[in-house]
């Protein structure tokens, strides 16, 4: 080995090491962006699909007052969806180079690309089913946004600060109805119990991190681990159910796969309804 090659050897390896580190940094940053985009997309799809479902109640609610209440809740959720989907599209664009807007994500994706949990796509059923679903989801969102208040991601913490007040009201609204229907007439009690039994198989999936474990690991301090939200969620929901003289269902099956893009037939019927106008008249606006 010559002196020249000896002297060059450390220099070369140092260069290579530095290049490797740079490469690794970029990849890690990309992975984090992708994980964050994926996490945000899941939250956005939950709110978008439930907003669409609640919107189906318009002109069909038991009273005009309730019609307006459900419309209000749907609009709150749609507002959250707009923030979340815009952000997801923006994050995705940083990695892929082409970002998709909120409308692209809401109206131009197909069923397999949606990342919402099954709970939000199930049909409205009767009013009791809608209220049971809302109690479960709003109580979950309340814990989610409360945890997200301290997220190190400024977009998410700002959204949480606004949305936590909205979902506190949604949760209260659903609570009031579950209490009245559960502790009302024998018929309202039976139908409220039947509604809880019908929606409870969809609870487990909300707190299940099987499909999102990698994403959550990549986002410490940014994402709220749904499994950690469950104890507070359970305390609240179980207190409502007990006070309403109802019993906690013990389902024999559970939904899964929404966060990985596997959905029930329900979403297939919901999407054309939601997307038809935009797809028929691209770029249409008020």
């Amino acid at each position: 080995m010559t002196a020249a090659s000896l002297s060059r050897q450390p220099l070369d390896s140092a260069d290579i090491d530095q290049a490797d580190i740079d490469q690794a940094d970029i990849d890690q940053a990309d992975i984090d962006q992708i994980a964050l985009a994926s996490y945000v997309l899941g939250l956005g799809d939950d709110t978008l699909i439930l907003a669409q479902r609640l919107g189906e109640w318009i002109t069909r609610a038991p009273q005009i007052e309730e019609d307006i209440a459900l419309g209000n809740i749907a609009l709150d959720l749609l507002g959250q969806a707009r923030t979340l989907l815009s952000y997801a599209g923006e994050l995705e664009g940083k990695v892929t180079g082409t970002s998709r807007g909120e409308d692209d994500l809401a109206f131009l994706r197909d069923e397999r690309e949606f990342r919402n949990v099954h709970l939000v796509e199930i049909e409205n059923g009767d009013f009791a089913v809608t209220m049971a679903r809302q109690l479960i989801f709003s109580a979950y969102q309340y814990e989610l946004y409360t945890a997200m208040l301290t997220s190190t991601d400024p977009t998410l913490s700002a959204l949480a600060a606004k949305a936590v007040k909205e979902v506190a009201y949604h949760r209260d609204h659903a609570t009031q109805w579950v209490l009245r229907l559960g502790d009302g007439t024998p018929e309202s009690h039976d139908r409220m119990q039947a509604a809880l039994d019908q929606v409870w198989p969809y609870v487990e999936e909300i707190f299940d991190t099987a499909d999102t474990a990698d994403i959550l690991t990549a986002l410490p301090g940014v994402a709220a681990d749904p499994a950690a939200l469950r104890p507070a969620w359970s305390r609240y929901v179980e207190a409502v159910i007990t006070t309403a003289t109802l019993s906690l269902p013990a389902p024999t099956w559970r939904s899964r796969g929404g966060r990985a893009g596997y959905h029930s037939e329900n979403l297939g019927h919901l999407l054309p309804d939601m997307q038809n106008l935009h797809r028929s008249h691209p770029g249409a606006s008020w």
Partner: protein, 109 residues
């Protein structure tokens, strides 16, 4: 949904609708102002009436406080008594505060 309808007794929905009492809604727009009557609505009880009022009457940031009063609790003057109730005040101009100037800077008077 059809089975649900079968379970509802004839006229059931109309009856339950009638069964929901009427509530009067009062909203205070800002601190310092008094509550103003804004309308009425149906609700099964006072707590739900309060929430319905929030959704129906404060959608555009109209209020900071809501009062709910059962319509049945209100004793109203009758249109028939309009003349004896209100006419005697019409020709007493000296009761109107038109004989002095309102000091500048006094709002909500």
């Amino acid at each position: 949904m059809t089975t649900d309808n079968n379970q509802t007794p004839p006229g059931g929905s109309a009856r339950s609708r009638k069964g929901w009492p009427l509530w009067e809604v009062f909203i205070r727009a800002r601190r310092g102002l008094s509550h103003q009557h804004v309308g009425s609505l149906h609700a099964p009880d006072a707590e739900m009436a309060l929430r319905n009022a929030r959704d129906v009457y404060t959608r555009r940031g109209e209020g900071v406080s809501i009062w709910i009063v059962p319509s049945s609790a209100i004793t109203a003057s009758s249109p028939d008594e309009k003349d004896p109730f209100f006419d005697p005040a019409m020709d007493k101009a000296y009761r109107h505060p038109t004989f002095y100037d309102v000091p500048e800077g006094v709002s909500h008077l």
